[in-house]
Amino acid sequence: MTDAAPLRFHVPEPEFRPGDTPDFSQVAIPKAGSVRRPEVDADPEAIRDLAFSIIRVLNRNGEAVGPWAGLLSDEELATGLRDMMLLRTFDKRMLMAQRQGKTSFYMQHMGEEAVSAAFRKALMPGDMNFPTYRQAGLLIAGGYPMVEMMNQIYSNEADPLKGRQLPVLYSSRDYGFFSLSGNLGTQFVQAVGWAMASAIKGDSKIAVGWIGDGSTAESDFHAALVFASTYKAPVVLNIVNNQWAISTYQGIARGGSGTFAARGLGFGIPALRVDGNDYLAVHAVAKWAAERARRNLGPTLIEHVTYRVGAHSTSDDPSAYRPKAESDAWPLGDPVLRLKNHLIARELWSEERHKQAEAEILDTVIAAQKEAESHGTLHSGGRPSARDMFEGVFAEMPAHLRRQRQDAGV
């Protein structure tokens, strides 16, 4: 009965490497509007197909179609477009600032703007996100001042985090944005804990966890699902599948499972996949999951299918591990362009207004940047003091740290 053949070691490989011509025509993309919208209290088993499909609203003609469409007003759509454009412009300027040596490091969102910008609009005041470094859209769409973000990036004298954190590792309690960690995954289970606390107190606020496709391999992901499943925590758990970790494609973390969403099914947690480049779809799915949480129906797992168009960070060069043209070949398009086309299709927008908006937004970002730079950049101008470095380790500074501060002469 046993086969005499020796065992073989299997290492998954992406389909395309530098030099190959990427071709995603085999990737099954369901038609916009084709995936049903179940009741929020549906049995997870009854909707398991949603973990293997992709919920989409915007079709090729820029129309919003199907059961997940129709939730956003014209004004909200225009705001959504603006938020994404703002984020993209912000990224461009900060990337440039990094190259100019004004800061040490930066991480951009190119291609993934819809995920965080749209999700944010499904939340209520007081809800708390536990984000990764690629959801600054939560801040932008939540109205957090860009200049504060820049102050953090520049580690300048006005940095709300006093220069202690790496650029882009923001924190804003008031804007529902939990302090970012540089350690992958840790926030995912913390989100569940926050949600449990809200339930323990009989509160109405929900938590939202965020994690990257690659980071789902971390232990915190498992602990989050276990605890969320056991205590039916009011939490929405988002996996942003942008196809790549750093140089490692999503198949290394996903393994033999068809999708990341499928992970949730092993826990009896409803799991949905959504077109992460479709602002309307992300928003609709977010609403659905948030309602489940608020109605004591427990956690939802969402896989946002998107693509990381840029480098992983300013320390990375993707041309070493994937074809340059891969992002163009990626079948879900550009989230900004898609929403723009939708607005144009609905005659709420035009190419001219878009150009105008681009110019205005650039001005706004540049103005913020000027203001931020007036407080200094990493290596010049105003900076947090060495004294700040010793503060805040504990609520009260213990004697040994006071002695060290004294030794440091600050």
């Binding site: 924190s171 804990g193 213990p398 004697a399």
Partner: protein
């Protein structure tokens, strides 16, 4: 005054804290319905409800990770890790998250978390029920580390820890749960009810974090110890007749350098004692601190008595455990030097 074992004192501390503050929640493996494998949380679920005291899945990462989230929300979780030997799966959440949350968010989010764990040997628990991992926490900026040696302190320190706005590692020497243990494992065990430090006031009080206590005044040599080793040191002093001054550190970080230095300056000699493995143990820090602050008062090298640098063995427990004979020898050496 009520007499309590260390288990009762610890339970009472949580009871008092939960009674005063609705935001205090208690959870961990087997701590809910059953009340914990050492029964430290017995009755709390019944008294405060399942939403304030509950069982968790077996995931130390999950216990600490969710507790951090709860702390960020505004609760004050006091969680149990069933044995300190099982804290490592949660180590990342403790080191990378709990310890740094206040600092990295500039105070926007804090982590008023207590992690209770039974620590230390002496119960034939083998490699995975005997460890003393305190030094793995004392090296981490942002953590406080507490090790009580008796019921009176245990209650006051635990209430202080729960009320503290920052994360506290609370190590409970399990060999002391039911009675003092001085390392004379061949002698009958006495209960806390016969010990003055088993007299524990009812209701609320605190023993401040960061303050050591001179457990025995003495002129000859200072012993720096904590947890079970305080009692072992007392036995060693009694057995050898050396007039040791025994300082019970109680809190390892922040440490009470004033009390330590005052004692060593007085005696001119110092022996540091702990159960944990020697190399890179907290005793190394104490030894370094003592010679940095009291160099010109020292008449002998600072001695260290500690667990050997091996995993904690099962059969050879009493060869491993730094009992009164070894401590006594170190005291004698310090006196002879």
């Amino acid at each position: 005054m009520p007499r309590m074992s260390m288990i009762e004192a610890i339970r009472d501390a949580m009871d008092v804290a939960m009674g005063r503050d609705d935001d205090v929640v208690v959870f961990g493996e087997d701590v809910g319905y059953f009340g914990g494998v050492f029964r430290c949380t017995q009755g709390l679920q019944q008294k405060y409800g399942k939403h304030r005291c509950f069982d968790t899945p077996i995931s130390e990462l999950g216990i600490v990770g969710t507790a951090i989230g709860m702390g960020a929300y505004g609760l004050k979780p006091c969680v149990e890790v069933q044995f300190a030997d099982y804290v490592y799966p949660a180590y990342d959440q403790i080191v990378s998250e709990a310890a740094r949350l206040r600092y990295r968010s500039n105070g926007q989010f804090t982590c008023p978390l207590v992690i209770r764990m039974p620590t230390g040997g002496g119960i034939f628990g083998g490699q995975t029920h005997s460890q003393s991992p305190e030094a793995l926490f004392t090296h981490v900026a942002g953590l406080k580390t507490v090790v009580p040696s008796n019921p009176l302190d245990a209650k006051g320190l635990l209430i202080a820890a729960i009320e503290d706005p920052d994360p506290v590692i609370f190590l409970e020497p399990k060999r002391l749960y039911n009675g003092p243990f001085d390392g004379h494992h061949d002698r009958p065990v006495t209960a806390w009810s016969k010990h003055p430090l088993g007299e524990v006031p009812a209701g609320h009080y605190t023993v401040p974090l960061g303050k050591a206590e001179v457990r025995r005044a003495g002129a000859d040599v200072t012993v720096l110890a904590y947890g079970t080793m305080v009692h072992v040191a007392e036995a060693a002093a009694a057995d050898t007749g050396i007039d040791a001054e025994i300082v019970d550190l109680r809190t390892l970080v922040p440490y009470d350098l004033d009390t330590i230095a005052a004692s060593v300056r007085k005696t001119g000699r110092c022996v540091v004692v702990h159960e944990a493995t020697l190399t890179s143990g907290f005793g190394a820090e104490l030894s370094a601190l003592v010679q940095e602050t009291c160099f010109y008062h020292l008449e002998a090298p600072v001695g260290r008595v500690a667990g050997w640098d091996t995993p904690y063995p099962h059969a050879q427990e009493w060869d491993y455990f730094p009992g009164p004979a070894r401590v006594g020898r170190a005291l004698a050496e310090a006196m002879e030097a």
